[in-house]
């Protein structure tokens, strides 16, 4: 049967067809939808882990128990999971294990554009790279089989365009006859102490050599001879752009990018006059081809930065640019916190308090944007708390009071807890604000260990975040309603002033949570035109439901207007109006 699937849907399908039993992940764009799709296959136990390291460890355990296991993450998630990954290559697997790393060239939704292929080489793990959804499905299934055959984890590299692109896929059946998982003690293989690891390491090196040789005849690495004046080595989405723009060029399409099939590269290089490597991000293939002593053109014409597009490839080869309609500068349309978002009031208060805010990864990173403009640093998941501690180590006592870390509930549980442990242990005077909106919002509302539900939508224990903070030794833990501006500002100011570690936790849910009993929309608000003085105070929170409308006579006077379709009745704007011009519809006129 043929159907249209995204790359992520196809990877989930591939895992199903491969007989995968366990899938584990922490959400991260562009990888999130893989686990949101494995849940449709009841044979797969799918779960969210608190972070990528735990996710990989769960998958490793499932593999050691004898079952096939999938673990997925975005590129930066591999940094978190790197510790187990680098030793997993030594132990190898029992059940096949596939780690999907989804890269984000162009940083559509990421803080850097690291190239995961380097991890495959660094960690000595073979890596496949699909070029469309059909290959996503095929390569996932194949990766499981090869993982067991070569006794090694396999990585599958995706990218935003592959994961979120859709194309036609022919579905297959689920594999049968796989070994039934059962405990099997094999400490010489699975206990990586020096004595055992010294035995395993040479096997890993030999494995990579064997795979490089075997890959020459594996069908996913293929030479396509067309015009031989130009030969292009490429893989993944770049292959599609090459076929689109340079349709006559000969290609060596690599399905496996680590280890490279050296003999096949030599064979291809000998068949063409001029050799290119077309790849996004780092010169990963190019450097290795050059190290083989083969003359090749790559990053001289294709940027290391950003994603490749057909237009950029066309420009790289000096092909004419098509005539296009003239354009002109227009107002941008950046993303924004939703109407009624409970983060808004916190950032408004932090702005007013002139805090130095160490930030973290989530929707609330948008607190950086004007008019809230209340975030000063953002580096990686969980970093806010450690950074706040570090800043207070070097600045004056007066400036120490300005330092506030903000972190979401999911990010706090991901890697923020350790930062708070350190803050208490080493007695930092900074303040931590945990923006608990009961969900992992940025990636599309995934449950987490504090939300009370599993990925399979089963009720479960919800971590009590205030109690957890107290258990870590924080003496001052205060819970505030972030929709009450005065209270929020007062509590944050008091805790900023305190020369000891303290935590403020906000307690309003994300407005997008689907469960009926979580987010409750209030009465919709409106502006009483006769009372509105046009002072613009309500615009300072940057709510998308509030619009400034200039006066019809063209004078500078104007009035605020609330879009009743967007308003959630959060009441924050009413608290900013000194003229009582804002209230629920019916209460104002």
């Amino acid at each position: 049967m043929k159907t249209i699937l995204s790359g992520n849907e196809a990877i989930a399908r591939g895992a199903y067809e491969a007989g995968c039993l366990v899938a584990c992940a922490y959400p991260g764009t562009p990888s999130t939808e893989i686990l949101e799709n494995t849940i449709q296959y009841k044979e797969i136990d799918s779960s969210w882990a608190p972070n990528e390291k735990v996710a990989l460890e769960v998958a490793i355990g499932a593999s050691f128990g004898g079952g096939r296991a999938l673990c997925t993450m975005k590129h930066v998630g591999v940094n978190v999971a790197a510790d187990p990954l680098f030793t997993l290559s030594y132990t190898g697997v029992r059940g096949g294990l596939v780690l999907v790393a989804a890269d984000d060239p162009e940083m559509h939704s990421s803080q850097n554009e690291q190239d995961s292929r380097n991890y495959a080489k660094f960690a000595k793990v073979p890596m496949l790279e699909p070029a469309d959804s059909q290959e996503c499905k095929e390569f996932t299934r194949l990766a499981f089989e090869l993982s067991e055959k070569y006794d090694t984890p396999f990585m599958l590299r995706s990218s935003t365009r592959i994961s979120h692109g859709k194309s036609v896929v022919e579905l297959g059946e689920r594999a049968t006859g796989l070994a039934i998982p059962k405990l099997d003690k094999n400490p010489a293989k699975l206990v990586m102490l020096p004595g055992n690891a010294r035995v395993r390491h040479p096997l890993v090196e030999q494995n990579l050599i064997n795979l490089s040789k075997a890959a020459v005849s594996m069908p996913f690495n293929r030479i396509e001879i067309r015009d031989t004046s130009i030969g292009i080595i490429t893989a993944g989405i770049c292959y599609q752009y090459v076929r689109e723009v340079l349709s006559n060029a000969s290609t060596l399409k690599l399905g496996m990018v680590n280890p490279l099939p050296y003999d096949l590269i030599r064979e291809f290089a000998a068949k063409v006059d001029k050799l290119y490597v077309i790849e996004e991000l780092d010169p990963f293939i190019e450097d290795q081809v050059k190290a083989m002593g083969i003359n090749v053109i790559g990053k001289e014409i294709i940027s290391i930065c950003g994603e490749l597009t057909p237009g950029r490839l066309r420009a790289a080869f000096g092909l004419p640019k098509p005539a296009v309609a003239p354009t002109e500068k227009m107002p941008g349309r950046p993303p924004n916190m939703c109407p009624g978002c409970p983060h808004r009031g916190v950032f408004f208060a932090l702005n007013q308090l002139k805090a130095y805010v160490t930030g973290d990864i989530g929707c609330y990173t948008l607190g950086f944007m004007p008019p809230l403009s209340a975030m000063d640093t953002c580096v990686c998941m969980g970093a806010s708390i450690g950074m706040a501690t570090g800043v207070t180590k070097v600045v004056s006592d007066e400036e120490k009071k300005k330092v506030v870390a903000v972190i979401g509930d999911s990010t706090f549980l991901h890697t923020g807890v350790n930062g708070l442990m350190d803050m208490v242990y080493n007695n930092s005077p900074a303040t931590v604000i945990i923006l608990d909106n009961s969900i992992t919002a940025m990636t599309g509302r995934q449950d987490n260990p504090a939300s009370g539900f599993t990925l399979m939508d089963k009720p479960t224990n919800a971590i009590d975040i205030p109690l957890l903070c107290k258990a870590l030794g924080v003496k001052y833990v205060r819970v505030v309603n972030p929709l009450d501006l005065e209270e929020t500002k007062r509590v944050i100011a008091e805790e900023m002033d305190r020369p000891e570690p303290s935590v403020v936790i906000t307690n309003k849910p994300c407005v997008l949570i689907k469960r009926d009993d979580v987010f409750q929309k209030g009465p919709v608000y409106a502006v009483a035109e006769d009372k509105c003085s046009g002072c613009r105070a309500c615009l300072k929170i940057g709510c998308p439901a509030i619009e400034w409308r200039p006066a019809e006579d063209g004078s500078k006077k104007g009035k605020a207007y609330i879009d009743s379709l967007l308003c959630t009745g959060c009441d924050v704007c009413r608290q900013l109006c000194k003229f009582d011009a804002i209230g629920s519809v019916g209460s104002v006129k």
């Binding site: 939704s109 365009r161 597009t309 354009t327 227009m330 615009l539 619009e547």
Partner: protein, 192 residues
């Protein structure tokens, strides 16, 4: 159409239902026997940012994104986003757009104005420009929420996919309780 590939761009603002419309379009093209690819960016764009969805179909499609200047049809859900994406269209391409303005943050805050005269500028560049009042047409169809479907109907008339495949795609992608009104809205758009 270059290389017998049809290139369609669906543009607008996060939350407008662009992804569903592009899914219906892709499904219809697949049912009609074409190879189909589609690409868009999720993530940050969900928070009210600009969204561009690319749909390409034909005998064999390679790139999932439409090469700049090769778009056949620009399907605009919002006026400023329609204008912003004009450079993706080929000369003499087709524009089907909803006459709807959604203010971005800088306009909401009164720092910039929503650009004026956009539809006139589009008309000057592209002869085949259909500007529709999607909301009004949708309420004529019986439900104001079907504006996207009316517009999709108008786009469908310009594509080589027969009506039965569109209906099959709607049946697959639209929830049963909203199916009839969406079919009606689609036919209304198709007759424009």
């Amino acid at each position: 159409m270059s290389n017998s590939i049809t290139n369609i761009l669906l543009v607008g603002v996060g939350g407008q239902g662009i992804l569903l419309a592009s899914e219906i379009l892709s499904e219809a093209a697949m049912l009609a026997g074409f190879d189909v690819k589609k690409s868009e960016i999720h993530g940050m764009s969900q928070r009210g940012g600009s969204v561009v969805s690319h749909v390409r179909y034909g005998t064999e499609v390679f790139s999932p994104i439409v090469p700049e200047g090769e778009g056949d049809i620009l399907f605009g859900f919002e006026l400023m986003e329609t204008f912003r994406s004009l450079p993706l269209l080929k000369p003499h391409g087709t524009v089907v757009a909803n006459d709807l303005k959604i203010s971005p943050p800088s306009v909401l805050m009164g720092q910039e104005s929503y650009p004026s005269g956009l539809s006139e500028k589009i008309k000057r560049e592209f002869d085949d420009f259909l500007l529709l009042d999607g909301q009004k047409l949708a309420s004529d169809a019986g439900n104001v929420k079907t504006a996207n479907t009316v517009l999709l109907g108008a786009v469908s008339k310009r594509l080589n996919i027969s009506e039965e495949f569109w209906m099959n795609a709607l049946e697959k992608m639209v929830p049963a309780k909203a199916l009839e009104v969406n079919k009606k809205a689609f036919r209304l758009g198709r007759e424009l």
